[in-house]
Amino acid sequence: MVVKKLLSGIGVAEGIKFGKALLYNPVASQDIAIREFIDSEEVEKELAKLRVAKKEAFNELEKLIEKTKETLGENKADILRAQQNFLDDPAFYPEIEKKITNDKYSAENAVQKIVEQFAFIFDGMENEYLRERASDVRDLGRRLMAQLHGKKGMQLSDIKEEVILVADDLTPSDTVQLDKNYVLGFITKIGGKTSHTAIISKSLGIPAIVGVGKEIETIKNGDFLIIDGKSGTCIINPDDKTLAKYKQQIAKEEEENEILAKFTFKSAITIDGFQVEVAANIGTIKEAKVAVESGAEGVGLYRTEFLFMNEKEMPDEEKQYQAYKEVAKTFGEKPVIIRTLDIGGDKELSYLDLPKEMNPFLGYRAIRISLSQQELLVTQLRAILRASIYGKLKIMFPMVSSLEEFRQAKVIFQDVQKQLEQEGIDFDESIEVGIMVEIPSTAVLADQFAKEVDFFSIGTNDLVQYTLAVDRMNEKVAYLYDYFHPAVLNLINTVITAGHRNGKWVGMCGGMAGDSLAAPLLIGMGLDEWSMSSGHIKKIKYVISKLKLAECKELVKEILQLDTTEAVRQELEGFYKRNITL
């Protein structure tokens, strides 16, 4: 008899699923940016990983040597033999181990560092023979990396049966590989409500629980799991009674879904005729198509970084242009807001070689990178402008914290426009240029910004993190992370009011826009454009259809008087219950 056990974490994508557990050990695949450092308790694990990789690389070389001897002769085989010898060289393998043990490097990082150390020395040598050794060392490095990357290890795209994925964490590139048909849901040890894993699970509509903590290790491969993405609970090997209860709940949700489905392609309009635009957040073409099918009236946030993250090198203008063009065409007349590269923070790019930072979310990221490495921004803006003739594109700069930054970006934008004009390339001259409001300084100065931007889009995920000084990735402080904090609501209201006062429209593209509970409040504040994960669209349209603008305005007045998050939630829950049935 298997003992039933309950785990709890943070539910990030609603839905109940049950199925067989599959433990996924993220042996990062080639296109995943490697993790640089490990914790002390992981040293043994990392060393073991390295030992296996070494052995496998050795065996692989042995086979190659035999084959080479037969086909090309002893001399050529010697080159490979030398590589094999490097593996046992006292200046090589023990040095990699040292990096792991003493400096807490990940095995991958340690291999790369030592390999590059030698390759660098050889590269600089006058003697041609020795200079060529750089490529030997690098080749050996690649061999080891391939082993470490788990070339033979599990790949998410290899999953071909229905499972619930259990992992420490999933990288954004992991999650984009997920096949909804097989991965019913997932549960991870770390992560918070708005970690990128959470965001992607939402947009794919895969129920997920994150931030479960150490307890997750009690799950074994093949255990039967029920995961409830709403409450964040996971039951391991449930009894029949529990399973029956959940089955009943699934039936109820399906019934609700039928009602909601009717709202998919309806306009989002209140009883008293106030209409807003409900759009989707997307990152890929695949998500763009899902968004259209889910009733999105546009794209409020096109996260271009996924275009960059799944690559081994910087995608060039043509590649970007093709992607933007495809999305523009998919939406036709409907607006698509393209956010310029928002890299840094928890999103890394292997080929950009961004230094490790103590406080990445306060560091070198997003527009700060774009303004200092301007060629990145210029390339992207050119691609966007060229694609603009195929639909209705808008441009949005992320992480703007001062007007100077926006002005600088605007100058670059105008230069790019001039460039294209001179080259005789067509683009949409009326393209709107706005900013994401996600830093408190910008929210506070919204009135000044509103005079220069074409629109605002409030990014609640970072705005909450920066306003409340809560790391959104840290499960220990996750309870503090709440967009219903009165200070956050105050800032949101400030931004919307300032936008409207200056005749500019205001959107929202953070998690709050897709939260039904927040909808009455946002209607009352007059939010013009709501951008969310596709999965939320029909529900939000349904909720809006049950509201009256006049009542919601009253609600806003009351809410803005409240002093605690708890009080705000209570008030909103009361209002919701009185007005909305589902």
Binding site: A91, R133, V137
Partner: protein, 89 residues
Amino acid sequence: MTSRDVKIINETGFHARPAQLFVQKASQFQSAIKVKKEDGMEADAKSILGLMTLALVKGTTITIEADGVDEKEAVEELVKLIESKFGEE
């Protein structure tokens, strides 16, 4: 500790094969053996990678320094190997 200076006289210097022979020979001894160059750079005589980074070409003078139970034989044998031009020609 025993040490001796020796000049590399074979045509190709510490090329693949010579370096390999040198490491093989060095590895037969228990002593810790270092190869030092005049510019202060040094490497483990039992590490082919380390030796290669020294860029030992014809004409370079190196110091072989051994420390351990068999240090005398080690230095002697290694010097002999270099002076024999690694059997080249």
